[in-house]
Amino acid sequence: MNAFTEKVNKIDRRDAKLGMAHFYVAFIGLFLGGMAGLLQTLVRSGQFTLPAGIGYYQLLTLHGVVLALVMTTFFIMGFQFMAVSRTAGTLTNKQRKTAWIGFWLMTIGTVMAAVMILLNEASVLYTFYAPLQAHALFYVGLTLVIVGSWTGGGAIIMAYVGWRKKHPGQPSPLLTFMALVNTLMWIVATIGVASTVLFQLLPWSLGLVERVDVAISRTLFWYFGHPLVYFWLLPAYMAWYVIVPKIIGGKIFSDSLARLSFILFLLFSIPVGLHHQLVEPGIDPAWKFLQVILTFMVIVPSLMTAFSLFATFETFGRSQGATGLFGWLKKLPWGDARFLIPFIGMLSFIPGGAGGIINASNQMNQVVHNTIWVTGHFHLTVATAVILTFFGISYWLIPHLTGRILTKAMNKLAILQGILWAIGMTFMSGAMHAAGLLGAPRRSAFSEYGGAAQAAEWIPYQIAQAVGGSILFIAIILVIYIFINLAFFAPKGEEEFPVGEAANIAEKAPMILENWKLWLGIVVLLIAFAYTIPFIDLIENAPIGSKGYKLW
């Protein structure tokens, strides 16, 4: 083993610059998207109307595109580059250049899509909704974001391959392995959205073809749409598995099991998109149920993850002399934002995951489909579990990259931010879940529905959502303030990039876990199994396609 690369714990300055470029875009996106979210909750309270001719659905498109696609993708790419640079060694010039090309492609694409949204040429939401037809440049912009992420993903693959060549017969560093799994999953998943955009929506919006097949476009989108949520989640799992144990002073429960759970996510993230289409016509219910079963396979690695995390916490607490059933809880560093913020995220993933099981439960989906319950669900998963973990990462990674430190004052502010988030989200997500069970729809501006009694019952919950949304926006302002401090103003110093060690360091991870021909082969087989016949059915029985509509 190369002793030098093992000892270098500080990320190379050139790599740090690459990481920071991604984080600047991500946090600008957070601010814009958060602002849009605040305005949406205010509109839905019925007490506020948007000024200056801004449309509710224009705002909603901005919120979805900027947060779900742009902010997350930039943060994840930046974090994964840094994780690889830290654990597999500084990127080579060629890898770094590839990563920069990816960054600029994504940034240009983001600007194009954002301009089209602001010009009100693309109020189709980030899920596209053909036959609503946006301006072609909106589709081109989002394509560039995807292609840019592939380019960046290429840099991660190159770095992984480079490390393996230099270290034959050895398992790759855990964080690098995890970044690679997420990259491979992303590339396979985005083929779906790229296909519908390049072969259906773009030629159609340019007027080259007159009609679009809506059911196929939706199915291709959701082939991508569900693995997208695992693309958000796995970087949070990287932090939970590898970084949080080091922050608390403990060990990774098991290196091999962490790898195995990532492989299971790779296998079972993709052939499951039909569970977003359970109440859609044109798809045989037997195939829907098959994908429901495949969806639930990810419960296995989720249970493994939950066990590992709490085993790490308990083992650490007991090593510090804790006694009794729950005495170890007291030994955890509750005053450390780098631990507390991701920990709040972990807790929110318990109700978030349970809600997800309900959503995907075949016929049970009818009770909640497209109600605001679903919005409440993913604000617990991506907008709490994932995003709080990303904030927790930022609080040490940004100063590490800028050569500064997280001061005690900023740590306190970060803790306040996390608590505000938990309170705000309890109000907002809780009220969304409750109103959704009463039938309140998602993706809808304020409406009294002609004075219907049922709709009147939803309004108090919508006011609670606005209260929660306002608290969340205060938390976002705190995050931005801390980010600016850590990027430009915090005192100079050395902030650690924590990387945990396995409890049983002697146990080498089985090399079969790095056999990508095997795993990608199974991925392809599972996708072919789950999707071939539904696609053949959709194509063979296709109705006449739809012309484009601009109804906003």
């Binding site: 909704y129 809506v214 044109g282 993706r443 002609g450």
Partner: protein
Amino acid sequence: MHIHKFEKIWLIFGVATLLVFLSVIGVSAFYLGNQPPSCLATINPEQVDTQAPFDKPGLNKVEGKEWDYELVFVASAFNYTPGEVEVPLGAKVKVLATTKDVVHGFNVAGTNINMMLEPGYISEFVTTFDKPGEFLIVCNEYCGAGHHLMSSMIKVVE
């Protein structure tokens, strides 16, 4: 690869629970017939108004079928036809709906009738209206600037 004894117990318990859960929803779906709406019939979305049963939107009594009535809805931006309909209490009804333009939702609030309407496809769901009252139908899939104004009403009367 070493797996801790407690983790084995945890995983066996978790997977067993999962299997029971999947069996329950599987039996409910395939044996008791509680499938999600998955109608496979197609239609030309530009000629909805001239094709049966969508040429007669509203509640239509039918004979010799497993249900007593067919409740037919046509959706287009931003309304449903009919805009209001009465259904007798206890009636077994097949709800049939389709769209003339973009994708719409069809959710009868407070019931399990919740389905997507996609251009070119017919959506259907069989149900019994066994609670009296007014049930709001909302479009719960984004369809354009008037999406939140798109609604109808089912009045279940004795």
